[in-house]
């Protein structure tokens, strides 16, 4: 008999707890009203690999009938030709713009109208407690065609999401999926699909890009897939930020790449030649995909203000200490990140150490806030290298915002600072060969150079990265490299590996520009570059964002942080390399311990030549009801291993370690996947027709500049990639 411990937490008005051990009796509190059941023995982990064939994809066409989509949710009517694309192994792609299977007819007939697609609704319910969020995402699929289909939907989640639960819902039946090694999950799914069973597969293509596949959707039959994840919230200068990304931006992939995330026009599957593909609706088309979003906010401290610049929301306060934020029904187009910020009372959150004690140890989280005196010290002279993404996806509003940010920043440099401007698209170029003193004449030269930059061409970020990091360094100054980009690339691992190899004495600061930026890349540029991150959305003020960011950089940084856990046996603390402390931004560490929990943490670091030391008192929570922390810890460990893997050494062993962790903690990862099969009923005979779910282009991004229009026989984009 398995002797693992199972803990059940019974949440009543008094939060009574219930525990039981395998082989022992359950003990209940009296008359509890609401209950949460958790299993201590539950592991979490996840990873995935694409379900698609490594041989690539090919297309066949299938005629579904002469039908028209009359209204959302209705079957296509009988006076319209509809063609959808099926994906099948071993059949070479054949695409003719006006032929069945090209998808062109569908687009043409539906110009300016709703495109019949199988994803009807996404409902997001988030519960935020302190800095931890538990988020349930329901994706409701419904087949609008007259033939059974397989729906394939590529979608984003936060890059630090620990996806730990997956439930397939058919009518009132709910089937919990299981985490498996990715290849095994893909085999199970494929077999179930071929035999006509309803099945769902969830894979991870990037830390923030996922694929949901649902096989054998019968006409008119709604099927929900519910996935649950945990993640931590960012905290910055008194503000917490909760983000839910809604669309994957169109990404550039280097010409030789096949493992990227490709952008294709709706109805042209396989055209990008990439393993993962996002089909985009053309201008004037819409999908009928609706969004519901609701956040329960229990910050644990007084909340002073909520701000949502990305969407229209309703905020209510049902009781003290509890807020609800709901998306207004008129603002449900899923074409940009949902960003909710809220300010908590008091000048700042205090440093704290919380240990979650279980039978044999537990998990801990330590938040270290910069010492106050950091704000009183002034910085050394800087050497700032601005690196602007001038690719096609930045054309229009994004490049205007980016130029505004650099303009603002340039005018705030001190006379003893130096600067340089580098732009990259298909190639990289610079204002000059050496750093320029930030005097009025040079700043004017910089502003003139900036004025002439436009967004066009591919996103060869690696060129910009090399140009910036290889730029001659003045050892008398602190070197800051500042990237301003939407991060729309598919070769993140190559970029991050190159960054680690060339970083030297530089610190990298990244500013995400746009409505749906690649936050994984933006965050990791700063994380691996020992810097900080900021986001500039379409509705944000350049002045506010850049001034706040600049303030952070205008003071020295506390470096070389070391934590002494006061004798406790603390291991596996992540991030493994403790980040430096900047003004206004705390560092959060998560680890596990065995034996007694630490009662305090002693933190030591350097500010210039000085050594500073302070302690953080700890408190212990016994048998916590919230099981999110182990998942968050495991997700952090996986991220740490992935960061090491991008350097290319020992990648196989690291992959094995990530996989084992994912299986133990029931988490999605690049090497694990969730699969669920309803084996109780076979659908009608025949293979389902594959229908990729097309999505809107992100707000502010120009479709023509980012989504290549392929013609017959053209498999991959021209060398410049999806950004012509």
């Amino acid at each position: 008999m398995n002797q693992s411990t199972i803990q059940a937490t019974c949440k009543t008005s008094s939060l009574a707890r219930l525990r039981c051990r395998v082989g022992t009796l359950l003990r209940f509190s009296a008359a509890p009203s609401v209950m949460l059941l958790t299993l201590l023995a539950l592991g979490f982990l996840a990873g995935c690999v694409s379900y698609r064939s490594a041989k690539g994809v090919s297309t066949i066409s299938a005629r579904l009938g002469s039908q028209r989509a009359a209204e959302p949710g209705a079957l296509p009517s009988l006076d319209e030709e509809l063609w959808v694309i099926a994906r099948s192994e071993g059949i070479e792609a054949v695409r003719e713009p006006e032929s069945p299977g090209s998808g062109a007819l569908l687009g043409k007939e539906a110009e300016g109208k709703e495109i019949p697609l199988p994803l009807k609704r996404t409902a997001v319910k988030a519960a935020v407690n302190g800095n931890l969020a538990t988020v349930a995402v329901t994706q409701q699929f419904e087949n609008p065609f007259g033939h059974k289909i397989e729906a394939v939907y590529v979608f984003p989640l936060p890059h630090n999401a620990a996806v730990s639960d997956f439930v397939l819902t058919i009518g009132d039946r709910r089937i919990r999926g299981l985490i498996r090694e990715r290849a095994e999950a893909e085999r199970i799914y494929k077999e179930a699909r071929q035999q006509g069973y309803v099945a769902a597969l969830l894979t991870q293509e990037r830390p923030n890009v996922f694929t949901q596949s649902v096989a054998n959707l019968e006409p008119g039959q709604p099927i929900d897939v519910i996935l649950t994840y945990y993640h931590t919230l960012a905290y910055d200068d008194g503000w917490y930020e909760w983000v839910f990304p809604l669309v994957v931006g169109p990404r550039f992939n280097p010409p030789s790449s096949t493992d990227g995330v490709g952008a294709v026009a709706q109805g042209q599957p396989g055209a990008s030649g990439q393993r993962t593909e996002v089909p985009y609706l053309r201008p004037g088309e819409r999908s009928g995909h609706n969004l519901d979003l609701e956040i329960d906010l229990v910050p644990g401290v007084s909340l002073e203000e909520t701000v949502c610049r990305s969407h229209a929301v309703e905020v209510e306060r049902p009781d003290p200490g509890h807020w609800t934020v709901k998306l207004k029904p008129a603002d449900t187009l899923p074409n940009r990140d949902f960003v909710l910020r809220y300010r908590v009372a008091g000048e700042r959150i205090k440093a704290n150490l919380i240990a979650f004690q279980e039978d044999q140890g537990g998990f801990l989280t330590l938040m270290v806030y910069p010492p106050k005196e950091l704000e009183r010290l002034t910085r050394q002279p800087l050497e700032v290298v601005f690196v602007l993404d001038c690719s096609g996806s930045m054309r229009g509003w994004p490049i205007t915002q980016a130029k505004g940010a650099v303009r603002r920043w340039l005018t705030q440099l001190q006379p003893d600072d130096t600067f340089q401007l580098i732009q990259f698209s298909a190639t990289a170029s610079a204002l000059g060969p050496t750093p320029l003193p930030a005097n009025p004449d040079n700043v004017r030269r910089g502003l003139d150079y900036l004025h002439g930059l436009e967004g066009e061409g591919g996103t060869r970020m690696i060129e910009g990265l090399r140009a910036a990091l290889d730029f001659p360094h003045d050892p008398a100054r602190l070197r800051f490299v500042c990237f301003l980009t939407d991060g729309y690339i598919g070769n993140e691992a190559e970029i991050l590996g190159e960054l680690q190899r060339r970083l030297g004495q530089s610190r990298v600061f990244s500013v995400g520009i746009g409505s749906s930026v690649n936050r994984y890349l933006i965050e990791h540029l700063a994380k691996l570059g020992n810097g900080a991150v900021a986001y500039l959305g379409p509705h944000d003020s350049v002045t506010d964002v850049i001034d706040r960011f600049h303030t952070r950089l205008s003071h020295p940084v506390m470096t070389d942080l070391v934590v002494d856990w006061a004798g406790a046996k603390v291991t596996d603390v992540f991030p493994r390399r403790i980040p430096d402390l900047f003004v206004g931004r705390p560092v959060i560490l998560t680890g596990r311990f065995t034996g007694p929990p630490p009662h305090r943490a002693q933190v030591r670091g350097r500010i210039g030549a000085r050594t500073l030391e302070f302690h953080v008192p700890g408190r212990t929570v016994l048998a916590p009801g919230n099981r999110s922390l182990p998942s968050v810890w495991a997700r952090l460990k996986m991220a740490d291993l992935m960061d090491a893997a991008v350097l290319g050494t020992g990648a196989e062993a690291l992959a094995d370690e990530i996989k084992a962790l994912a299986l133990e903690f029931n988490l999605l990862s690049p090497y694990t996947a969730f699969v669920a099969v309803d084996a109780s009923r076979q659908t009608s005979a025949g293979d389902p027709v594959t229908v990729p779910v097309a999505v809107p282009i992100p707000e502010g991004v120009e479709y023509e500049m980012t989504v290549p229009q392929h013609t017959q026989g053209e498999k991959t984009p021209e060398p410049a990639g999806p950004h012509p």
Binding site: M1, N2, S4, I6, A8, C10, L18, C20, V22, G23, T24, L25, L26, R27, F28, A30, A31, P32, S33, M35, L37, T38, L39, A41, L42, G43, F44, L45, V167, L168, D172, R173, R174, I175, R176, G177, L178, I179, R180, E184, I188, E191, A192, Q195, Y197, A199, L663, E664, F665, N666, V675, A676, V677, D678, A679, S680, R681, Q682
Partner: protein, 164 residues
């Protein structure tokens, strides 16, 4: 599609060695280790219902272990039961799942009237089976309890569902 009912019933007090014997007595020697019919694919999907019989006591909580033997069986889904009290899919231990063994647990603290009595389906296991023979399913009840956390006598039974 299925080869017929297979099952294993086990009361809390029953010695483990009795299980195979009881199964054979109940189903006959031909019920175990059957081959799939020639028309069936080598990789096939099956549904196994898990029942708990609490006789006349309201069942508020249970924990059980489900295993499959004798063939290459992969668990591909865990579904809730027939009673509203156990409608949600039970939680399971993911480490056990990797060895195709499911440790399931669920509890409900609603009014006793809402709790099932007698024989009730508490879960359904969806499996993928590969190989020439049909698997044997074994299920063991670890514990069953009332809403007041009192242990109750109960039996558990796994039964492969006949699908059309």
């Amino acid at each position: 599609m299925g080869p017929g009912t297979q099952g294993f019933a086990c009361g809390l007090a029953a010695p483990r060695w009795l299980a195979p014997l009881l199964l054979d007595l109940a189903l006959g020697p031909g019920a175990r280790g059957q081959s799939p019919s020639p028309a069936e694919p080598q990789v096939r999907f099956r549904v196994v219902d898990v029942f708990v019989d609490s006789v006349n006591r309201p069942l508020a909580a249970y924990q059980l272990v489900f295993e499959a033997h004798g063939s290459d069986v992969k668990i591909v889904g865990v579904e809730g039961g027939e009673s509203d009290a156990f409608r949600e899919p039970p939680h399971h231990d993911p480490r056990a799942i990797q060895k195709e063994r499911v440790i399931l647990a669920a509890f409900h603290t609603g009014a006793s009237l809402a709790l099932p009595k007698g024989r009730t389906r508490v879960a359904t296991i969806h499996v993928q089976v590969q190989g020439a023979t049909e698997p044997d399913y074994e299920v063991r009840l670890v514990t069953a309890a009332t809403v007041k956390a009192r242990k109750i006598q109960a039996t558990v039974h796994a039964e492969e569902r006949k699908t059309p």
